[in-house]
Structures are given as C-alpha cells and as structure tokens.
Amino acid sequence: MVFWEMVFYLVAMVVYALAGGGLIYSFVFKNPRVVPKVTLLVAFGFMAQTIAIVARFNAIGHLPWSGHYEYALMGGWFIIAGTLFVGWQNKQLQCLAAGTVPLVLIMLGYGYMQNPALTPMAASLKTVWLYIHVYFAWLSFGAYSLAMAAGVVFLLKQKSEASAEPNPAYERFPSLGRLDELIFRYVVFGFITDTIMITAGGIWAKDLWGNYWAWDPVETWSLISWLTYGITIHLRVTFGWREKRLAWLAVAALSTVIICFFGVNLVVNTSLHVFQVR
C-alpha cells in the first residue's frame, strides 16, 4: 500500500461507517431528511476510494484486479458506483445505500486485513480476458448487491406499512410494486453480466490452464450462483414469485456470490483461482 492509498482507503472506510450510521439513524429515528445528506457522504467516501485506486494504479501500473485486498477495493467501488448511479437517476433509490454501504464497509475491512502489498501483475493475469472476466464479475456482483439492497428495503417497508404506525422514513422510498420490479431488474442485469463473466472465464481458462472447465471450486461456486439466479428468474417469470418471496430470494442468493468471491478460498486451498495471486 502506498501512503496516499492507505490514507484515502481509511478515509473511505470512516466515511462509509458514518454514512452507514446515518442511514441506520434515519430508519430507527424515522427521520427521512437525513438520507440525501448521507448520500452526499457516500459520494465523498466514493471519491476517497477512487483516489485510493488511482494512487495504487500509479504505484503498480495497472488497475487493482487481483488478490482479496484489490478485489475488495475495486469491487466495493463498483457497488458504490452502482448505488450512487441509481440514486442519482432516481432520488427515491438513494435508500439502497442502506444495504450496499454496510456490505462494502465489511468488504473493505476484510480486504485491509488481507494482502495489500504492492505486487507487479502476475503473468497469468496479463491478458485482455482478465479485464472482461473481472469487469463483468464486478458488474454482476454490484447488480446482485443492489438487488439484495432493494430486497432489504422492500422487506422493511412492507413490515412498516403493515404496522399500525408506519415509519415515515419509508415514504421517500419507491412503492412496494416498484421495489419489487427493481429487484427483478437488478437480478436480470446481474444474470446477464454473470453469463458473460462465466463465458469469458471459460475462454481464458482454456488458454491459461488448458481446459475451459475444470470443476475448480471457484468455477463450481460461480455455476451454483448462476443457477441460483437462473432459478430466481424462472420463479419470478413462470411461477409469479413476487414481492416478499422475491425479496427474500434476492437477499439469500447474494450469499452464493459472497461465498464464490471470498468464501471458497477460506475453506479450500485447491482452487486455481488463487485470489492471492503473486
């Protein structure tokens, strides 16, 4: 880690922690006016994170694409970028930060504990397929995270609306019907990018390892994750699973992606996807 990277990485973490606190405050104390200010805070944290990425890029000469630390740094950036983008497009969706900011905060904390050392890009990563594979991986993770966040907001809002005294903080959020469709829309976006990611990974694997598919633990989990979201789409389109059931599915399905990115290497050391690549 170079000095300015570390400074801005920590600034981003502190700012996201404050923003997360602000969002919890707005929900618990029924104060929806805080949300736009918190969104500004998230944007500030995002800028700090971007500077940290630029500082690292400056030091190593390539975008941070490999290793758990770099995955947390770059992946968190994609998730926050997605959150800010949808919040900028539709003010009602600023609330999605309630789901994504804590997730990114945990990712950054975890990444910091891993391997932030500066390393030249390993030979195995010097290919255009890295950018396609990893870029679409992060797009899908970002979209699935937004689906999870929309699911959480849906469940909270539905619970609030069913109570005798609905929390006014939720009035700023989109209607339940719209949230339900947004969950599906994010899942669809994630599924498409996930499909591209797996395909690009297969083609890359053929050149790098000699086989397009080797039942590697990360490959297998990514297939499980893809199937899980495929089932989610089928359940929604064919069986009409909507609202509460879809929201729970979006929340639960994200666990397969988290396991794929961070969990597999914790429990098995036989994966060719050595995220701690050197």
Partner: protein, 448 residues
C-alpha cells in the same frame, strides 16, 4: 399414464428440482475430495479413513461429476429442456405472429393493465400517431380506428435461442471429452519433439482419446527466457520452431496451438549441463539434467555412480552464515551440490555457472544453465461448437431479458365530444416500470 409422466417430465417444477439437485451435487463435490481432481489429497484421506472413503466411493461421491447420479440428472435435465422447448414452440410461434386478430378494443381488452385516454391536439391525426409509434420501434397493424403495436416482437425467439445454446454446449462438451488427449511433457532448450507418445511423462499417465488420435505436433524448443520481477513471475518466453521453420512464442496465457492441440506452459525448471572429469582432465560423462529446483526444494541426479543433490538459488546470498536467495530473479544463479557415494556424503559446495566442484579426485563442471519447461498438452475437438454455444447463450440472454416485448392496442375515438387517443398497454416482466414507459411514450407521441 404416459401423458401424465410426460407432463411431469416437461414441467418447470421439475426443471427447478433438477437444477437444485445439480447445484447440491456440485456443492457436495466441493467438500468431498474428488479422486480425479485432488488425487494426492484423496489418497491421503483414503489412508486415514479407509472405510468412510470406501463408503463414499460406493455412492459415487468421490467421482461426483461423472457419477451415475449426476449423469442421470443431466440426462433428465436435457430431456426436460427438450420437452419444454417442444411444448413452447407453438406458443412462441403464435406470440410472434402478426395478425389483425390482435387488434382489440383498448377500453375492454383483457390482460393489458396500463390504460389511458389522451385528448388529441387538433393537428394530430391517427396516421401521424401510428407513424410516430413506428419511429419508436413499434411494429403497428391497423389504422386510427383500431391498431395493435408491438415492440421487440421477436423477443420470444431468444428464449429458444438461449435454451438451444445449452444443447450446443452439451454437444461441444461431449465431443471435447471423447476426443480429449491429455499429457505432460518436459522439454529443455534445444530439444525437439515429433509427437512421440513415449516422450510424454509417465506420471501422470497420458489420457488417450476415446475417439481420434493423439497430437501429431512437431517442433523444437529454440529458447526459454523466464521473467521475474520482485518475486512475481511476470512472464516467460518459450520460442518453438515448427517443422516448417515457423517460430511460435509460448507465454503464460498464450499456448502453442496446432491440430486441435494446445501446448500450455505449466512449469519451469533448470536444465544444467554438467561434465564430470577425472584427475587427468579426461571427460567421464556429460549430461543435461532437468532439475525441478525452482521451488527451493533440492533435486537429485546421478553421474558415473555418484549421486548429486542440487539446491538452486536464483539470486544467491549468504545471510547470517546461511545460504539464501535475495529474490526469485535470476541475478546470481548458484547451485549448492552435495555428492554421495553409496548413500554416504563425500563432498559438497557451491557451483556457479562455469564453476567447478572438486571431490575424490573428480571435477564436476557446470558448463551451461538453460531452462526446461513442462507443457500441459491437451487435444480436444468440438471447441468451436462449445464457444458458439457460449456466444448464442449470451446473445439469447441479452435479447430475451433486455429487449422484452411491449404491446399496445389503441384507437382514436370521440369521448364526450373530444377526440381522444384511447390506449391499453402491457409489457413482459414489469408492470409499474412499464406504466412509466407508456406514459412517457404517449407523452412524446402527443407532444406533451
């Protein structure tokens, strides 16, 4: 009875059940060491828990990806997929067919949740509205008295395309499995290879194809140059010259491909040229040895009845009286060699390039220090079919899920003496979001 079974086999519930079971099988495969994929771990585990492993072996859980249960599930999955596609095709055909029968009364038509009525400005007639809808990529049938419009009419075909791509992937996958040859070969700088089967490493044993022949490549290794920066291997350049004299560069991520065969770089080693001379300077023996020493583990070789154990230091340094390497860069390559005769150590010492180790009246000279590489050789056919399947899957999923159908029915009518455009609309997947889209569409069309 048969119809009932067919109905069950073609149901989407069955599809979901099969996908869940396959997902479960894949998850089990991650936790239970697989015989083929994790041979060393499996053998170790078998030693420690023979009865448990025997039990899991009997259930096929240690070869789970090719076990009869998994193959049965895959067969059922593709049977289910075929039946679903067969049943869906007439529905898809009717959905994409354009017919005047689809023109309906927007005020009473069922299944169109979005309904609205817009007063028309004086200068806007029905034909202009239809023209504007066409500009918005709607295919429109009918006229101002009643019309039907559809955007992304052919989207349901993408459903077929996406699911048919699975069959291409299956076909490509099956061809690649049955025509697959896998072997490892170690080649040092200067060595030639003519495709001889006996040259492949004995362990792991080469896997011969069920259909077709082993690779028929022919080339020689011109040079091997590894690149290491700060302990990170940043690349390798292996130059091969084929039988026509053409040079090919192999690098990580860039295998040498010929005749459906890929030579993938897997491993690097040092292949030093040692010469053993007696006290009078007469050459006793000389040989290149492919030593696997780059992981800081010693390797052994034998010359004229002596056994030599060699440890390699790419960037040799003496640290606190101990031999070490500063980095994995080849800045100061050095061997530490210990000599044994009938199991008894008789000498040891450091040997740089062109250096000499003297022992028992002999001189072991290190003349050259080229490298050797291990290639993972894999020959497979059917990859173009497989990749076509991947491409079609991507096209299908994007087309089906992003370019979904929107349908509208409408008519220009007088309502309470005001000329109005009465419309009803529906969209696949989304109701609320489509309502916004329809409101915007008609706002744009009517110039509001």
């Amino acid at each position: 009875m048969f119809n009932k079974l067919l109905k069950k086999l073609s149901s989407l519930r069955f599809t979901i059940l099969l996908i869940c079971l396959l997902g479960l099988i894949f998850a089990i495969g991650l936790w239970v060491p697989q015989k083929r994929l994790l041979k060393t771990i499996y053998i170790e585990w078998q030693k420690n828990s023979p009865s448990l492993v025997a039990f899991l072996d009997a259930l096929g859980l240690t070869t789970i990806y090719t076990s009869p249960i998994t193959i049965t599930l895959w067969l059922l999955f593709f049977l289910n997929l075929s039946l679903v596609l067969w049943q869906r095709w007439p529905i898809i055909k009717s959905r994409i067919t354009l017919s005047n029968a689809k023109i309906a009364d927007p005020a009473t038509v069922g299944g169109y949740p979005f309904r609205n009525s817009y007063p028309l400005p004086g200068n806007l007639d029905g034909d202009t509205i239809i023209g504007l809808l066409r500009k918005n990529r709607y295919t429109v049938l009918g006229d101002a008295s009643g019309f039907y419009g559809v955007k992304n009419r052919l989207a349901p075909i993408a459903f077929m395309l996406f699911h048919l791509s699975f069959f291409l992937i299956l076909l490509g996958g099956m061809i690649s499995i049955y025509t697959e040859f896998i072997g490892y070969i170690d080649l040092a700088q200067g060595e030639s290879f003519q495709g001889e089967l006996k040259r492949y490493n004995a362990s792991p044993q080469p896997k011969m194809p069920e259909i077709g022949s082993p690779p028929s490549a022919s080339f020689s290794v011109k040079s091997i140059v590894p690149r290491v920066v700060h302990n990170t291997p940043t690349g390798i350049s292996v130059l091969l010259v084929d039988s026509r004299g053409k040079t090919h560069e192999v690098d990580i991520n860039r295998p040498y491909s010929t005749d459906h065969t890929s030579f993938v770089f897997k491993h690097l080693g040092v292949a030093p040229l040692f010469v053993l001379k007696d006290a009078s300077g007469r050459e006793m023996e000389r040989a290149n040895f492919k030593l696997d020493v780059l992981r800081m583990k010693p390797d052994r070789f034998a010359l004229s009845g002596y056994t030599f154990t060699a440890t390699f230091y790419p960037d040799y340094v003496l640290e606190g009286g101990k031999r070490a390497t500063r980095s994995m860069e080849f800045n100061n390559p050095m061997f530490f060699i210990s000599v044994e005769q009938v199991g008894k150590k008789i000498a040891d010492g450091l040997v740089p390039q062109n250096g000499v180790l003297e022992f028992a009246g002999y001189r072991l000279q290190l003349l050259d220090m080229p490298f050797w590489v291990r290639f993972y050789v894999v020959k497979q056919r059917g990859l173009s079919i497989l990749y076509s399947g991947f491409a079609i899957a991507i096209i299908g999923v994007i087309w089906r899920l992003l370019f979904f159908r929107r349908e509208i029915v409408g008519a220009v009518r007088d309502q309470d003496g005001v000329r109005c455009l009465v419309v009803a609309g529906r969209s696949e997947y989304y109701k609320n979001l489509a309502e916004d889209e329809f409101a915007k569409l008609f706002g744009d069309v009517l110039g509001n």
